[in-house]
Symmetry: C2
Subunit: 351 residues, 2 copies
C-alpha cells in the first residue's frame, strides 16, 4: 500500500474550534487556471481627499464633520446593520419560522489620518495605538453587549469600499453563529481535557514547528492545521488571555510588532497590498461577563482570498457552498517566501 503523504493524497481535516471539516486536495494546485482574474490593485491613493468620509475634516453622510484627528478615530457607522433600539419580532408561531430580536451598535475605526497607508506601513507605536483603541472599544461596548466583533475588510476584493485604513466594530445583543460554535467547542474541550483548547493547540504547534509563521515573546502566528483559505493564519497570545483589554502594555507592543511583520509578509507574498478579512474573537462580554470563561482564549483570524497571484483568488463556491470547504495546498506547504528584498510592505504610488 502507498504511504500517505498529505501533499500528495487528498484527505479531510477537522477544525475543532468551529466544528467543521475541510477537504485538502493539494494535487489540485497543478490544474491550469483559466477563470476570472481580479481587477488590478488601485495603485494610486491620495493621502488626503476632502470628499472621502473617512478623512480628517471631511463631512460624513449624516452631515457630521470629522475632527482633524491625528491617531485613530472611532465613530458611528452611518449605515449600521445593527441599531440599539429595534423592536422584538415577538414569539414565533412555528418552529420552522423562528425570528428573534437583534440590537446593537456598528462603529467604524480609522487607523491613521492618511488614506495611503496600510497597517504594515504604519510604525509600531502607531499600530500599538490601534491595539489600544481595540481594547477600549471592547471594554466600552462589552459593558452593554455580549459580543463585540472587531473586523477589518481590506481591499476591494473583500468588498471594502474605501481605501482609507480602517476597521469596523459591530456589537450585538446576541452571540453570533461563529461565536456560538467557538463557545461550544472551547467549553467542551475544557471540560474534557481540563485546559483551554487554544492554549493546548498553540503549545502543540510550537512543538511540531510545521505550520509556524512567526513567533515572538508574547505571540504566535501559524497556519492552522484545519485552515480553509490558502494563506489563512491564526494569531494567538502565548499567555492565557480571554479578552483584548486584559493585554499588558508589553503584550500590546509585541502584538503591534508581530502584526507589522505578518502583514509585511502577506504584502510580500504576491507583491501587492494583500487583501483579507480579519477579526478578533474573545470571551463573550456584557451581562454574561461574570460567568466562567476560562475555556476561552483570545485570538484573531486572518482570512485572505488570494491563491496563486495578486489577481487569482480561491473561489469558495459550488462544492464549498453546498457541501464542504476545500483547499488546494496543504497548510504545511504554505511558505511565506519573499520576492522583495529587503522585506517591505506594499507602498502606494503618490498621486
Amino acid at each position: 500500500a502507498t504511504t500517505f503523504r498529505a501533499s500528495e493524497h487528498q484527505h479531510i481535516r477537522y477544525n475543532p474550534l468551529q466544528d467543521e471539516w475541510v477537504l485538502v486536495s493539494a494535487h489540485r494546485m497543478k490544474r491550469p487556471w483559466q477563470g476570472q482574474v481580479e481587477p488590478p490593485l488601485l495603485k494610486t491613493v491620495a493621502r488626503h481627499d476632502p470628499h472621502n468620509p473617512l478623512c480628517p475634516g471631511a463631512t460624513r453622510a449624516n452631515g457630521e464633520v470629522n475632527p482633524f484627528y491625528d491617531g485613530t478615530f472611532l465613530f458611528d457607522n452611518d449605515f449600521p446593520a445593527l441599531q440599539p433600539d429595534a423592536p422584538n419580532p415577538g414569539p414565533s408561531d412555528h418552529p420552522l419560522f423562528q425570528a428573534e430580536a437583534a440590537r446593537g451598535v456598528c462603529k467604524v475605526m480609522c487607523f491613521h489620518p492618511w488614506s495611503d497607508v496600510t497597517l504594515p506601513l504604519m510604525s509600531v507605536p502607531e499600530i500599538r495605538a490601534v491595539v489600544d483603541a481595540w481594547a477600549s472599544v471592547t471594554e466600552e461596548l462589552g459593558a452593554r453587549y455580549p459580543w463585540v466583533q472587531i473586523f477589518e475588510n481590506k481591499g476591494a476584493m473583500m468588498g471594502c469600499s474605501n481605501p482609507h485604513p480602517h476597521c469596523q466594530v459591530w456589537a450585538s445583543s446576541f452571540l453570533p453563529d461563529i461565536a456560538q460554535r467557538e463557545e461550544r467547542s472551547q467549553r467542551a474541550y475544557q471540560s474534557q481535557h481540563g485546559e483551554p483548547l487554544l492554549m493546548e493547540y498553540g503549545h502543540q504547534e510550537l512543538l511540531r514547528k510545521e505550520r509556524l509563521v512567526l513567533t515572538s515573546e508574547h505571540w504566535l502566528v501559524l497556519v492552522p492545521f484545519w485552515a480553509v483559505w490558502p494563506f489563512q493564519t491564526l494569531l494567538l497570545p502565548r499567555r492565557h488571555v480571554q479578552r483584548l483589554p486584559e493585554l499588558t502594555p508589553a503584550e500590546r507592543d509585541d502584538l503591534a510588532s508581530i502584526m507589522k511583520k505578518l502583514l509585511t509578509k502577506y504584502d510580500n507574498l504576491f507583491e501587492t497590498s494583500f487583501p483579507y478579512s480579519m477579526g478578533w474573537h474573545g470571551a463573550p462580554t456584557g451581562s454574561e461577563a461574570g460567568a466562567n470563561w476560562d475555556h476561552w482564549q483570545l485570538h484573531a483570524h486572518y482570512y485572505p482570498p488570494l491563491l496563486r497571484s495578486a489577481t487569482v483568488r480561491k473561489f469558495m463556491v459550488g462544492y464549498e457552498m453546498l457541501a464542504q470547504a476545500q483547499r488546494d495546498l496543504t497548510p504545511e506547504q504554505v511558505r511565506f517566501q519573499s520576492t522583495l528584498s529587503p522585506w517591505v510592505p506594499f507602498v502606494y504610488h503618490f498621486p
Copy 2:
C-alpha cells in the same frame, strides 16, 4: 412601543435545515455603494471552439478527444479534487490534529453541445435530458459513495472558468459538512414532529404565500425564510421524494419546465446571464442507502451573489466570515420583477 416590521427592523432568523442564524437588516439597502463593481459579462461566446475542452470533438488536458455528443456528456474531471484511491492518513495522535481518509470521484457534465447557450435558453426536452443525466449519475456513483454532490457554478463571478453550459459531480466516501448538518436537522425534526422538515416547510410556505416564487403541479420554488443570499431560492418537490432517481417522468418534465422559468426570471432580474452556484441535496447513498432516510426530502439550493445590479454583488466578508451571515433585504421583499417584456433568458451575441 413601536410595532415590529421585518422590512424596517433588524432581527435574526433561524435556518432549521442547516442550524444557522442570519442577521436581517433591510434598512441597510439604503446605503450608497462605492465598492468594487464586477467586470461586465462577456457578451460574446463562440458556439463551437475547438480549443475549449468542453466542446464536442475537442481534445482535453489528458489527451482524450470528446465525442461529437449532441445531448448531455459526462466525463471524468481532468483535475479532480477527489480520486478513488488515496491512502488513509492513519490514526490521529492528538484530538486537535484529526485527519481522515477521503476517496471519491469528480465528474463534469456538459448540458448541451453549444457553448453559447445556458439552461434557460435550452428547450424543456433538452433540460429534461439534463435531469435524467443527473438521476443516472446519482444512481451510478451513489452505488459506491455515501454522498453524490451535483452542483453548477455559473458565471465568472462564481469562479466558473468555462462559459460552456456544464455542472460538476463530486462523489465522496464521507458525508460533507453541510450534508451532515442537514442530516442532523432533518432527523431531529422528524423524530420530534413525526414528519419531514422540508415537507412541512413547503406546506407552510404554500399556506403563507409570502415567499413563493413559482409553483407547478409537482414543484415549488421559494425564497427561504432564512435565506442568506439576496436572491437565494429553494426548489422542492411537492411529493415526498428522497433522491433524484425516484422522480417520475411527469415530475422530471415538470422540473425541467420550472427550472427554465426560474432561470429566466433570474436572467430578467438584472438583464444579465445570472450567476449562481446551485446544487442538489438528497438522502445519503452508498452502503448507507438501506437505512431509514424518511426524514430526508430532496431539494436544490440556488445561491446567486448579485445584490443591486448585474455588476454589484453582496460580499460575504468580514462580519459574515467571522461572526454571522447578514442580508440587506428581507426574503419577503425579494421580487422577481421583469424589466424585459416578454420574459426571455439572456442571449449571448453571436460572434
